[in-house]
């Protein structure tokens, strides 16, 4: 039975597992390329410290990667286990990028990560660098295909509904791949990953600098992270996701919700910096506004208009009424009334079928929906404004704070003033969570902001779930949350342990915790596994 409870629990499970997964993914994306940079320097200069850097940060990369793989498995299973109707309805289109991701990207990444760790003594430095590069390339290509799939959920191009197969079918693979929303998302997401990797290396290196440990190692790591991080954060901000917000109705609605833009204002609209959005009265209290800013950011022009929520609801209501006609015709077609007139009539209105399906939440028989139900469904087309409004602002604030940090870090490092600024170094250590806060709130903006759709304007989320009992979901959510939390605790423990230990973890005999003892066998290393 599909009840509201089943739908809500399925969404909760998806959100939890995706947010967990997204703790690890950005770091993998970013660290992989930092490893390539460090190892490239090693191959060019043959200075041992760069090899040590690649191996040490690689060790932390491995700890993170293990959970990325673990939590990623759930994502693949989950479309089938919990979103069976979704899988049937859009698998023809959505499945392809996922499968190609496996063939083109995940194989590459996963095959070479083994050699990255185990191949140091068996490969020449150049070959090993090639392995590291292919691993990084694999992880980035992986992000590309996943975001092509996700971009299609936001802006479903290159596909048509077929009444015969009762599903969406691909009409153009090129349209799917070159979906502008997917392109924007890819650039924004991988650049955010590079920022995460850079902040990770920057913060931990700042910690060593503060402790005055392994300074040559820490300085070089810091320098690479600050330069790579500055370039990356600039890309994230300049190539922000919002440049895709004028593409497709779902993105337009998301933008209006994120900005709590209730009315359509004459262009260019002003940007609400802060305020308390109220969805009942459709007003924003205590709003602080910056003139022109929203129009400029969202439309990249002075004359582009940002459609307000009230006008969107009016437009959506018309499409819901159209969708009811489409649903009626579809029922006839499925019952075998496949004459040319019916087919032609259906083809003319089928783009609004998804809007008709929104009524399924209120009535099994969409055709007989009451006026009140139509109004409710029209309201449903707008996602909850408050969480989106705040998530977006938290993300942007984190982004600009990181811009400041990377700019200062780069400047102080270039002018060699860094180590005389302990308070700044301390601030960097504490800034470590910022990229994760930005990434997780960014996920909320992108995916919560897509509601009520799982596939924009095509398939409502509440129709997408599997036919399950609520009890099934309570069990799986309970088990997933406990297991994930346990794994996360273990992961964090190992991360902290090895980050504190620093390059001494490599047992080269060249670093802080090893220098004190000349005898290599008696490890003075705190709580370090001797057999590693």
């Amino acid at each position: 039975m599909i009840t509201e409870e089943v739908v809500d629990l399925s969404r909760l499970q998806f959100a939890i597992t995706a947010l967990y997964h997204f703790i690890f993914v950005p770091l993998t994306l970013g660290l992989a390329f930092l490893l390539v940079i460090m190892e490239s320097v090693y191959v060019m200069t043959r200075k041992q410290v760069y090899k040590d850097m690649t191996q040490f940060w690689g060790k932390l990369f491995g700890i993170n990667f293990a959970l990325g793989v673990t939590t990623g498995l759930t994502m693949e299973f989950q479309f089938g286990t919990n979103w069976a109707y979704y899988s049937h309805y859009v698998g023809d289109v959505f499945g392809a990028p996922l499968a190609i991701e496996g063939l083109m990207a995940f194989f590459l990444e996963s095959t070479f990560i083994g050699l990255f760790f185990f191949g140091w003594d068996r490969l020449s430095p150049r070959r090993h660098l090639m392995v590291t590069f292919l691993m990084a390339l694999g992880s980035n290509l992986s992000a590309l295909w996943i975001l092509i799939a996700n971009g299609w959920m936001q802006n479903p191009v290159g596909a048509e509904f077929s009444y015969e197969t009762m599903r969406m079918e691909m009409t153009s693979f090129a349209d799917l791949v070159f979906n502008p929303v997917a392109q924007v998302k890819f650039v924004h997401t991988v650049a955010a990953g590079y920022v995460t990797g850079s902040m990770f290396v920057l913060s931990i290196s700042a910690y060593y600098l503060l402790k005055k440990r392994d300074l040559p190692f820490a300085r070089r790591s810091f320098a690479i992270a600050s330069a790579f991080g500055l370039a990356s954060i600039l890309s994230v901000i300049v190539l922000g996701d919002e440049s895709g917000y004028e593409l497709g109705d779902v993105q337009r609605t998301k933008l209006a919700a994120v900005e709590a833009e209730w009315d359509t204002h004459p262009a260019p609209a002003s940007f609400t910096l802060f305020g308390i959005p109220n969805q009942e009265t459709m007003t924003t209290d205590y709003a602080v506004k910056i003139p022109y800013a929203l129009g400029l950011i969202a439309t990249r022009s002075l004359d582009g208009q940002v459609t307000g929520i009230k006008d969107l609801i009016i437009a959506h209501e018309i499409r819901i009424r159209n969708g009811m006609i489409a649903y009626d015709l579809l029922t006839k077609l499925r019952a075998g009334q496949t004459d040319e007139v019916t087919i032609a009539a259906f083809e003319a209105v089928k783009k609004d079928l998804g809007y008709g399906l929104l009524l399924k939440r209120y009535t099994e028989n969409v055709i007989d929906a009451t006026e009140e139900q139509i109004k409710l469904a029209a309201q449903d087309t707008i996602p909850n404004v408050t969480p989106l409004f705040w998530s977006f602002r938290i993300m942007v604030a984190s982004g600009f704070t990181m811009l400041l940090i990377f700019a200062l870090a780069f400047y102080f490092n270039a002018t060699r003033k860094l180590e005389s600024k302990p308070r700044f170094l301390k601030a960097i250590v504490w800034a470590l969570p910022l990229p994760w806060i930005a990434a997780e709130t960014g996920w909320v903006v992108a995916e919560y902001g897509r509601q009520p759709w799982s596939i924009g304007e095509i398939l409502p989320t509440h129709l997408s779930t599997s036919t399950l009992e609520a009890s099934n979901l309570y069990i799986s959510i309970g088990a997933l949350v406990s297991f994930y939390t346990l794994l996360l605790v273990i992961e964090m423990y190992l991360m902290f342990k090895f980050a504190r230990l620093g390059p001494s973890a490599l047992h080269t005999g060249r670093y802080h915790f090893e220098e004190k003892s000349t005898d290599n066998k008696s490890h003075q290393v705190p709580s370090e596994g001797g057999a590693v």
Partner: protein, 379 residues
Amino acid sequence: MIMDYETLKLVWWILVGVLLVGFMITDGFDMGACVLLPFLGKTDTERRIIINTVGPHWDGNQVWFITAGGALFAAWPAVYAVAFSSFYFAMMLVLFALFFRPVGFDYRSKIADPRWRSTWDWGLFISGSVPALVFGVAFGNLLLGVDFYLDDFLRPNYTGSFFGLFHPFALLCGVVSLSMLTAHGAIWLQMRADQPIADRAGRAGIIALIIMLAAFAGAGLMLLQGMPGLHIDMMPAKDAMPNPLSKQVSIVDGAWLSNYATYSWMIAAPVAGFVMGLLTLLLVKARRSGLAFACNSLTMTAIISTAAFSLFPFVLPSMTSPNSSLTLWDAASSHLTLNVMFIAAMIFVPIILLYTLWTYRVMWGRVTSKQIEGNPLSY
């Protein structure tokens, strides 16, 4: 389009099989090695030798499984939807078992505490044994029929229960797959691990192969007893737009054997299962582990083919609503999607095979205790 729709549908039935076989051959040996880990490794060093034989490869191997899942999603969306949601708890069981792999491999060596390590050893044991068992049970349930129906809008509804999956026949199939992968892991260790593990692995491999052959014979006998299968009375053209509900299917005793009468060459699959299985056994005994590994790969191919041939053209039968059953003709994706995916597979599978073989060549050789202790990055 490279091929007509009908041919492409058939090609994708073969390709899904190829990915499954690829998964069994590659991921199969590391799962098998994990099953044997707590029993063949008496000391920590011995266990580390076992883990390090698969250390550089388990992650790449696992992608065969992930890609098979992705290909199922793309090529047979209805099968993916029905199978994963119907087998909800069985899938969750596999998923949770698989969770132990990445962390077990990567985190075990990071702390020396014996309790820590032994916990992960059993975690790895679960990660190998549970999926191996459940896959077989799932295949058994395909032959028994999955209790689902499709409504008018093709929404899958499951009417069975989790515990209903553990029918004796399904359990027997579970034993086949578990022993098959365990044997594969044993042969791998005989080939790649240092003594005394290699000899112990050889003995374990022989036991596993005997169990596998007996269970395979037992499952075959149950089928020969006239287990009910499905027969298509009427269906649309094979190149029609896929719509599972447009066919007429009836339940007929012994129908899963009818293909062997229609296409007599299919008998080669079960026969090869026995012949290659026995040959593998002899090769393991003679310590020709390289040949035994290749031979066992063929055994597994033959056993999987036997299941697929028996069901053909069904891929996901329902006994409670036979018309809802999914076949390779009516569960497939559109012509364009199958075509795009076929091109992608033709380009990437050969490339994957090339670089995978290269990584195996780089890491080739017996893993010894000396090697592990000299390398701070080993597991």
